[in-house]
Subunit: 103 residues, 2 copies
DNA sequence: TGAACATATGAATATCTGTTCATATGTTAG
DNA sequence: CTAACATATGAACAGATATTCATATGTTCA
């Protein structure tokens, strides 16, 4: 009865918008790099800047977007802000996407 | 040994671009509607126009994009062109995304 | 062949999105 | 308190993207 699959009949117009937004979060290279980096563990902004090769500003802007979507969270630690993935879902979605890309 | 997961060490810069492109395909409401409609079975363009509420032209343009990404395929049947999902991956990705959206 | 229908295409436009630059905020150490 | 550092933010700009409008292509049927 309590199956994990979604009942198609109750998918609203708004759900489709949310769904598009979710995938939009994964649709940019900088964001993908950020998420991929965070898959290996939490990192501060400076480290993310290094790993992505993007500007500190660009990274910060993108982190904000990802945080708003609750794909990542953060905590302060002194001067630094440490970011980490919000949950396993991100991991799963990325993995699945990568499986598809890799055929 | 032959696990389904992807070895992180062999993920290239190009893979990340492909991955972003894949998710980009799912990041627009019109395209999501198209794909969702096709999850229930193949449909001709006119039916897709009806289901999505978008213009015939808009639908046609988006179908082209989805086809180029090989997310959908089509066959001709008289005057009509019948579209259908290319494989189960699309189904799975959409399902997983929806599961996330629905919490 | 020509009319009616189904779909595709190209150019133009308006909107959205990501980056950059400059600067603000907040934190620690001296 | 101030200098040095870490991160965030806002405005401006450039490039990408989705839609529309007009029209082209292709198919069937009379």
């Amino acid at each position: 009865m309590a199956k994990k699959t979604v009942d198609k009949s109750i998918i609203t117009e708004e759900d489709l918008y949310d769904l598009a937004d979710l995938f939009k979060a994964f649709s940019d290279t900088t964001r993908i790099k950020l998420l991929y980096a965070l898959m290996e563990g939490e990192l501060c902004v400076a480290e993310l800047v290094e790993k992505t090769g993007a500007t500190q500003s660009a990274v910060s802007h993108q982190l904000r977007g990802l945080k708003q979507m609750d794909l990542i969270r953060c905590r302060k630690e002194g001067k630094q802000v440490i970011y980490f993935l919000a949950d396993d879902h991100v991991h799963t979605i990325l993995q699945m996407g990568m499986d598809h890309v890799k055929e």
